[in-house]
């Protein structure tokens, strides 16, 4: 019908009209299909819903699991590192100390691990239908954000119970800055996850390494100990580890523990920006041919 209105158009003129999709062999390293991903918002929201709902369908406690897991882990940490190993927490109640570290760390670990098996985990769908692949890690990130929000509220309740948080101005500042911390952590997890998911299409070995690496990484991050506990010659770990500053800063904002070394933030920003760019680039490059190899 469109042609009836401009019936005079000739074939050549029509061909020169803009095509909606042009598929060619090579696309740039930095063509991330962000526009198309944005147009797939409805798909992203459905994927988030699927992730969230499928976790607790047919469970008795349902969404409560999002709370039980960090509380139980924190209690184990309190027992293991606080009561038995007697690791100092710098005067902060051990329960709050470990919970604050875990809430941040869990968010990072989930952001990383849920985006790191995109191709292998969705091979079946990817080989049958096309949609912007970036929607999948973004949806994973959003459902992690929801989990984080629940666990964060849990942390706030615990903090209030321990007599923290009475200055409204400090709370407002901390809330705003926490948003930035969350954004930073999400981008770091996404960047590394995208790198790993792109590389695992070629080398499945990486999948085996990942869980183990994540565990080691947690111990290199001040989740269960304050940075001050590290001997001077090992402090470098907390500077080159891009997850050390958000964990330390989160604790600083809400519990008033010492601030992280500014150097660690500078390093962290550079690392995160670089790894995110590399991850997006690898991912967009891999997705075009991934179905040929998985």
């Amino acid at each position: 019908m469109r042609n009836l209105e401009n019936g005079l158009t000739v074939e050549t003129a029509k061909d020169s009209q803009k095509w909606d999709h042009v598929v060619t062999p090579s696309q740039g390293w930095f063509d991330f299909e962000l526009g198309e991903t944005w147009r797939s918002r409805d798909l992203i929201s459905m994927l988030v819903k699927r992730d969230f709902v499928s976790v607790y369908k047919q469970t008795i406690l349902g969404p409560l699991w999002f709370v039980i897991q960090p509380v139980a882990t924190t209690l184990v940490f309190v027992l293991l590192f606080g009561t038995i190993a007697r690791l100092p927490t710098g005067g902060t109640p051990p329960f709050l100390f470990y919970l604050s570290g875990l809430v941040m760390w869990n968010f990072f670990a989930a952001s990383f691990s849920k985006t790191s098996d995109i191709f292998a985990g969705n091979a079946h769908i990817f080989s049958k239908v096309y949609f912007p692949r970036l929607t999948v890690p973004i949806a994973a990130l959003i459902s992690n954000l929801l989990t984080f929000a629940i666990q964060f509220v849990l942390f706030l309740i615990a903090a209030i119970a321990y007599g923290y948080l009475h200055d409204p101005v400090a709370i407002a500042t901390a809330a705003v800055l926490t948003l930035l911390l969350v954004f930073y952590t999400a981008m770091l997890g996404l960047g590394i996850g995208l790198c790993v998911s792109s590389l695992t299409t070629r080398f499945r070995d990486l999948g085996n390494l990942q869980g183990f690496a994540l565990q080691l990484w947690m111990y290199a991050t001040p989740v269960i100990y304050p940075v001050s506990l590290l001997p001077i010659n090992m402090r470098v770990i907390s500077i080159v580890n891009p997850m050390a500053p958000p964990v330390t800063s989160f604790r600083n904002l809400w519990l008033g523990t010492p601030m992280p070394d500014p150097m660690s933030w500078i390093f962290g920003f550079i690392f995160t920006a670089a790894v995110l760019l590399l991850g997006l680039s690898l991912f967009s490059h891999t997705q075009r041919l991934a179905t040929d190899t998985i």
């Binding site: 061909d15 095509w19 409805d42 499928s54 096309y130």
Partner: protein, 430 residues
């Protein structure tokens, strides 16, 4: 008027696949393959299929790449229904994958206008824990529908699926029939400008298939462009006004459906021979198949065999040097069903023949009982291999089974609805 706008333009499209060494999923295997090739040994991880393709379709190999699709160009106008036909391995699936952007071409380009939806499968992304209703939204979103459009069509989708009373039950409790109905109901309500459909119609019961065919026809009447790939020539001729024929990765015909289907059918039958001889290669060889024949009880070669008679397949082969572990593989493939019916290897039971064999010309035969195969067209594939090497594969022998006597075909049916037609007697137990 509306048929004049070009909505899809495919130019010089090509897709290569690297064979055998694409990826083993494990660093260890990659290294193993590299090492073997470096030493000039056969790749221990190469698959049988890779090697047989290598020999069978040498013209499709270039620099170690397999040309799944080569230099394909065509255009589709708005409102057209284009059928894509060709035998298995002709490149149909590759073309579909490229058109639906699942993978990227190696050469050439595809340009399209408007929203594209591809149905290479129904029910992609269904989550077993979610209810039918939730899966309509999820699957619809994966197929590119907006939430608003799904909501608008929700009643129609549920109605089309005929499973209204189970719509809030998790789909893992569905029977496979219900699952497919729901999945197709979603797919049928897509509203793209271009719809790409692979043989998804081959699902569900006959009544439901008819309903789907009808729905697809109505989709086309509303001015949408449909690309339809199928083995079901009846469905193709019913739905499509124009067809393209692929063969060996290339486009060999692009014309009206009647003409293309004619060409397709005659190309298939002119190549059908029940017996072939194969010359020795010019250079040195290790083992070659020399002759394959389908013969009747009288040892005469004939391309048409009666269902009620036994038949044999004779394979002659030559070995130029003493050889251990030699085996001859034989497959009978139903051409219409595209399914391997029988797969045998010599020696199937007599392991002593795996021991060293002297050079020479061997004649072998395997007999099949009467009624083993139902009526239809069959293809014979024969391969010679040792443990790590495939010497020769041939698959250009065909024969047809007909039913002269008519005893096994119930009145009013073209063909008994089974692969095998063995006549096995019943006895009365009381």
């Amino acid at each position: 008027m509306r048929g004049s706008e070009t909505i899809i333009k495919v130019e010089n499209l090509g897709k290569d696949y690297r064979l055998g060494v694409i990826n083993h999923g494990m660093l260890y295997r990659d290294l193993q393959s590299w090492f073997a090739r470096w030493r000039g040994r056969p790749d221990p991880n190469a698959k049988f299929k890779d090697v047989s393709l290598h020999q069978e379709e040498e013209h499709r190999m270039r620099d170690g790449n397999f040309l799944a699709l080569d230099d394909v160009s065509f255009e589709v106008k708005r409102g057209d229904t284009l059928g894509i036909v060709g035998r298995n391995g002709a490149g149909k699936s590759t073309l579909l994958k490229l058109l639906s952007r699942i993978t990227q071409p190696t050469r050439g380009s595809i340009k399209m206008r408007g929203h594209v939806a591809s149905l290479l499968e129904v029910g992609t992304g269904f989550h077993p824990e979610l209810s039918g209703r939730e899966n309509i939204f999820l699957n619809g979103a994966i197929l590119g529908m907006s939430k608003a459009s799904i909501r608008r069509n929700l009643d129609a989708i549920i109605d089309f699926s005929e499973i209204e009373q189970f719509i809030d039950t998790p789909v893992k409790r569905y029977s496979s029939g219900m699952y497919v109905r729901l999945a197709f109901a979603v797919a049928a309500h897509l509203e793209p400008e271009i719809l790409i459909v692979d043989e998804v119609l081959a699902v569900g019961d006959i009544a439901f298939q008819r309903k789907c065919l009808g729905k697809m026809q109505s989709v086309n009447e509303s001015g949408r462009t449909v690309l339809f790939v199928s083995h079901n020539l009846t469905a193709v001729s019913k739905l499509c006004s124009r067809c393209i024929l692929l063969s060996g990765g290339r486009l060999v015909a692009d014309s009206s459906t009647a003409e293309v289907l004619n060409e397709y059918v005659s190309a298939v039958s002119s190549n059908r021979k029940p017996s072939r001889e194969y010359p020795l290669p010019d250079g040195p060889f290790e083992a070659r198949i020399r002759r394959v024949s389908v013969t009747g009880p009288d040892h005469k070669i004939a391309s048409v065999r009666d269902l009620s008679e036994e038949f044999s397949i004779e394979v002659d082969y030559e070995i130029s040097e003493p050889m251990e572990g030699l085996s001859i593989g034989l497959q009978i493939v139903s051409v219409e069903g595209d399914q391997t019916v029988i797969s045998l290897s010599d020696p199937e039971l007599d392991w002593s023949r795996l021991e060293a064999r002297a050079p020479g010309y061997y004649k072998s035969r395997v007999k099949f009982p009467a009624g083993l195969l139902n009526t239809g067209l069959y293809q014979v594939r024969v391969g010679m291999s040792s443990k790590y090497k495939i010497f020769h594969v041939v698959e250009d022998i065909h024969f047809e089974i007909i039913d002269n006597v008519g005893i096994v075909v119930p009145l009013g049916y073209e063909r008994k609805n089974s692969l095998l037609a063995m006549q096995i007697p019943w006895e009365l137990r009381s």
